[in-house]
Symmetry: C2
Subunit: 230 residues, 2 copies
DNA sequence: AATTGTGAATTCTTTCACAGCA
DNA sequence: TGCTGTGAAAGAATTCACAATT
């Protein structure tokens, strides 16, 4: 554990499954903090996060530092801080949302990303009827100004909230403007150079997976670990 | 351990990673069909879906029937049909959206789920100012009528698009009304009995994972397989 | 006594590589 | 020839189980 080059900055990338769980632990820790808890056990935290204690401990062990105390549990603010630092939430992320329809406006109003270094700097739309409207305290800018706004506002993360038919075009423009982190809500697989990180949020995918489980009669519940017997 | 699953078509439950990819293959097949292609090779299809050919073939082999022809490729409509049948998209899924804010309205207007057996039957909201409005051709119903609407419309799938603070309450009501498939857009981990399937869509999670990769300078691209040098 | 941290065992997933078929 | 389908191999992720620590 004194071995610093194993994990930490510049160390190895964490498995994606671990990353997804870390975001959930972080949320559960924030809820625990609001509830006034100073420490949590892996069992409590895992249960709030819908995970199991063993994998939680394994995940945290990949983070490096040791934020638990044996016999006691994890220090709530300390661990939250450590996870936040690992995820890069101490930096400033300057976002733009492309598309000011219902979805873009909903995302703009979503408060969940504030307070973790995410700041919404611009919202853009192609349609003249949307341009100029006020959304979440910002004026909607014309899509044609994408490149200059990205530069002027130092935008380094973008959210695509446009119809599928134009999403790839928007993606290309974003890449050309230097953006390398994109969250895509349009129902298309975007093609982009390998250095661009794209995450996809896809309602159809989720509905189809739900349909599969319901169709098969499989009870698949992420949130509740199987009980140990014996 | 008991092997509790002997499903139809000689199928046990498919791995979740496979399910997620199947939905992408399906979309790519539909695009190919629109483009007039009759057959696709695993290489072409994988490239359109951002996967690699080997895992695509393995995924399809888990489905049972054989929809490829050696030396030729896959029959586009045949394979699309087979994947659709596997996912349960031949059945009728009757949906309700809870929450008629920007997000609920955006989801209601999202055409992507139509034509795959998904039919939006109701949209509900707590607030009297939303009730009665017309959204996607439906009138917004009061949230208090949830149980009776679910029964009257035989709703069997629900989408939660309400603020985090009330999401667990809505979830409890849905479960009480007999819903066992829930897609949750609220940023909370829902607690529900194991027989209820819940999928979570979470903007914070995705942004935080993007932040991690950008922070670490890791290029992680799901959508594009490493290019072969040619 | 309680709970973490982690090697070892297990299970799951992906990739390889090639036989089999059109 | 070209491409699928699939066992076998390799690689990851998860779970177990217990020594270490407060």
């Amino acid at each position: 554990m004194t071995d610093r080059d194993t994990q930490q900055h510049g160390g190895r990338a964490l498995p994606e499954a671990t990353l997804e769980r870390l975001t959930v632990y972080l949320r559960a820790l924030e809820a625990a903090q609001l509830a006034g808890q100073r420490t949590v056990s892996s069992e409590t935290l895992a249960s709030a996060a819908g995970a199991n204690p063993a994998i939680l401990r394994k995940d945290l062990s990949l983070l490096g530092g040791s934020f638990g105390r044996r016999g006691v549990g994890y220090d709530v603010p300390g661990l939250a801080d450590h996870i936040g630092a690992t995820l890069g939430l101490k930096r400033q992320w300057r976002m733009a949302i492309i598309g000011a329809g219902n979805l873009g406006r909903a995302l703009a109003g979503f408060s969940g990303f504030r307070g973790h270094g995410f700041e919404l700097k611009a919202i853009l739309d192609q349609s003249p009827t949307e341009v100029g409207r006020s959304v979440a305290g910002l004026r909607v800018s014309p899509a044609s100004e994408l490149e200059s706004i990205v530069a002027a506002e130092s935008v380094n993360m973008a959210v695509i909230a446009v119809p599928g038919a134009v999403a790839q075009g928007v993606c290309d423009q974003l890449v050309a403007a230097g953006i390398r982190s994109i969250l895509n809500f349009a129902p298309v697989v975007l093609q982009a150079p390998a250095e661009v990180n794209i995450r996809q949020v896809d309602m159809s995918r989720e509905l189809q997976i739900l349909a599969y489980y319901a169709h098969q009669g499989v009870g698949h519940q992420d949130a509740v670990p199987p009980l140990q017997s014996e």
